[in-house]
Structures are given as structure tokens and as C-alpha cells.
Subunit: 244 residues, 2 copies
């Protein structure tokens, strides 16, 4: 299998068969996840596998009715985690400095790198995945459901299972916009975005049988024109991430 072809074929899968995934395979997938690079060897990520049907149903609902959280063979919550490193500081006779912006950043990046490696591992086995950002709709309830200590933040969920659908690839912005040479030169970005808007219009029209006539820039305006998940800052404060 050509790995780059595999990466290029990624689509989110939101419908799964009921075929299970054995625990050894889960361990291989998650083990491959944690083989990703980690800043200063912090390993600032923890993943929690949720099997309990009631907990899954509660998460599916708070994530906005994403029922595949319940039906995927496996469901995980990926957390940025400084709690464990604080424990290690204590074991080494040191003291952990909470609330440092840089520490939050490295744990968040560590977590995303590990999750993406796990995703690639899963997809290489023919499995399908879907990230669930919707868990951040209600991080306080997530924290309660998963009994998360301070210094642990549930960043996103991840469904993994055997695909029961074959959705089209979603086009991406052209590299002329996202890959820049030497400096951040945005002089042709509006042109690139306008091209992409038309491509996305075609994608939406085809996917909805002509019903949805929409472009990417309108999606962005809807997404970023409001204070989305306004509870995040105070939630993070409460978990000990005060961005000082």
C-alpha cells in the first residue's frame, strides 16, 4: 500500500458496521499513536477508551446528537494531559508550575500528533474514523463522566470502526493558499479561496442532490462570526489552565 495514497484517501466515516475490533488491534493502533513525536518527551496526552453504552449515549447527545459515537466499534476521548507530568515532578521531588501557556500548547500539540498517528494506523487496517470536536460542547460534563483530574482537558473524541459507507473525498484549499514560500504572502489568497469556493459549491450540490448551494467562505463566516463555545476559557481556567 502506498502510504501517501492512503493519507490522500481520508474521509470521515460516520456509519459503521457492528463488526468489533479486538483489543490487540486497539493496542497496536494506540501504540502507533504514541510513537509520534512529543515535545521534550513530555508525552502530554492520555486517551480514554469508553465502552459503557450509557456513557457513550450521553457523549453522543452532548456532542450534538452524533449517534456514531454510540455505534462505532471503539470510541476514545483524547486528552491534553499535564496531570501525569505533575505526578512525575512530584516523584522526582520537584514542583509543577500550573497555568503556563506554553505547557498547555505542547500538551495540546502532543495530543493531536498522537491522535493523528493512531488515525493513520487505523485507516491502514481498512478501518474508518471520525473525530468528534463536539465533546467540547460540554467539557464540564465530559470531565465528570470520565472523572478527569485538573490539568487534563478532553480535546476531541475519536470513533473507530469498520466503515459502512463510502463518502466522497472533500476537496481541500489549494496548496497555492496553504503552502507559502519564504514569507506569508497573501496576495493571491482571495483568488485561491474564490476557486475553492466554487469547488466546494460543486461538492455540496453533488452530495445533496442539488439541495445545498453553499461555499466555503460562507461556512467560515458562519463558524467564526460568533463566539463559538464561549464556555471554553472558564472551563480551562477551572481545570488549571489559566494561560499565564
Amino acid at each position: 500500500m502506498d502510504v501517501i495514497d492512503l493519507l490522500m484517501r481520508h474521509r470521515s466515516i460516520r456509519k459503521f458496521t457492528d463488526e468489533p475490533i479486538d483489543d490487540a488491534t486497539i493496542d497496536r493502533i494506540i501504540g502507533a499513536g504514541f510513537a509520534a513525536a512529543t515535545s521534550s518527551n513530555l508525552q502530554g496526552a492520555t486517551v480514554i477508551r469508553v465502552r459503557d453504552a450509557e456513557t457513550r449515549a450521553a457523549i453522543a447527545e452532548l456532542a450534538g446528537g452524533q449517534t456514531y459515537v454510540e455505534t462505532a466499534a471503539a470510541f476514545f476521548v483524547w486528552c491534553a494531559d499535564l496531570y501525569r507530568s505533575a505526578m512525575a515532578c512530584d516523584m522526582a521531588g520537584g514542583t509543577f508550575e500550573p497555568g503556563v501557556t506554553e505547557h498547555f500548547l505542547i500538551a495540546t500539540v502532543d495530543c493531536a500528533l498522537a491522535a493523528q498517528n493512531a488515525v493513520v494506523a487505523a485507516e491502514s487496517l481498512g478501518l474508518g474514523i471520525c473525530y468528534i470536536g463536539g465533546i467540547r460542547n460540554d467539557p464540564a460534563t465530559m470531565t465528570e463522566l470520565l472523572d478527569l483530574p485538573e490539568q487534563v482537558v478532553p480535546l476531541f473524541g475519536l470513533c473507530i470502526g469498520h466503515p459502512d459507507q463510502d463518502p466522497a473525498l472533500k476537496p481541500r484549499l489549494p496548496l497555492s493558499v496553504t503552502l507559502k514560500d519564504e514569507t506569508y504572502d497573501d496576495s493571491s489568497d482571495r483568488e485561491g479561496i474564490a476557486e475553492y469556493d466554487e469547488q466546494m459549491r460543486g461538492y455540496y450540490l453533488e452530495r445533496t442532490g442539488g439541495k445545498l448551494d453553499r461555499v466555503w467562505s460562507a461556512d467560515m463566516s458562519a463558524l467564526l462570526g460568533k463566539e463559538s463555545r464561549p464556555h471554553m476559557r472558564s472551563y480551562l481556567d477551572g481545570q488549571g489552565f489559566s494561560f499565564r
Copy 2:
């Protein structure tokens, strides 16, 4: 090639041959990066390829004397980017809400997912990589060097090149610590960390011919017992990320 084996074989490469990488290959690698999942299709990442020798030398120095930033066949700076989406809002006749914590989070995660996909793509071609978190030693100078607008944050650098070394794999924390079942149960974490400490002691001793007798928990205490990169918060404020 077994993809999971490839992922498990990752080590950072810090010594490269002078063999170049052609532009078509770079485009394949970065294109595979941006094929990763993205929250709400935000595509909140931009990657800047730096070729100029003087700029590379300046970055190598500010990153703490990491000379491989200069010698790798290709060097990139991965940025969390809401500037482009703000441009898209404007094109759609909307207004962008700056400073929202959630928006910063999704752009940061998007950027890390894309970078890790690019890393896997590069490694699948036999190339070696090294992330450079050290660019955050001086994000203000990075911003000047790369002419970054507000709403763009340089998260990390990435060296890609042909390996000229074959370092040992660095052990990771055991899954008994990093993969949890149902809830965040830390009751056996100290035990798992103590085991890993001994494993890391062996790794350091072997790598330094017996000179470095050190454990992971001591690394964490050194890393997290101080306010690392204390400029990050005010830098991010200045770029328009106020975490409200």
C-alpha cells in the same frame, strides 16, 4: 510496507545528507498533510517553506543552535492560522470574531494533525524529520522573519531530509499509563512511571556511553518546574489570540 511498523519506527533525525528533495515530492508530502481531518473544515493551518540560507541560520540560532534547521533538505514552519478564515468571512460579507479560545484550539489542533500527516508521508518515502519547538523561543522574531499577519501563530518548525544517522528508538510510557479504560484512573500510574523511569535510565546510559544517569520524572521536573517560554501569553495576545 506495513504502515503501523513505519509509525512505530519513528525517531527524530538531526543529521541529514545534502541530497535534495524535489518540489513535486514536497508538494506530495504537504498535500498529504492537508488531507488530514480538519475541524468544521476550517483548515486552520498554513505551512511556510523557508529556503533562504540567512533566514534558516537565524531560525537555527533562535531555536537554540539547532544547526539541522540549516542543513535539512527542506525546512518548514507550521502555523495555526485564522487570518485566512477571517479573509473568507470578509469575502462572504461576514465579520470575524477575534480572540475566541475555541477558535485558537481548533486552529492549533488542525495544524498539528496536518503536520503529523506530512511527517508520516515523508517517513514513508524514507525521509527523516525533526520537529522544532524551539522556534517558540522567540516567536516575535519568527513573526518578523516570516512576515506573519495577526491571527497567525508559528507553532513549530519541521526539518525534512535524507537521514545521515540511525538513532535508537526512544521508549514511550507504557499503554497501562497512557491508555485508560472508561475513566481517568491513576491508581497504577506511579508504578508505570517508575518502570518507565528505569527504562529511560537504560536508554540514556546506553546513548551516552554511561555518562548520563537520568530518568523521565527528573526530565519532567526540569521541564515543568519553571515557567517555560513565559513570553508566549503576551506574544499570543499581540497576534490577536486573547483567550476570551
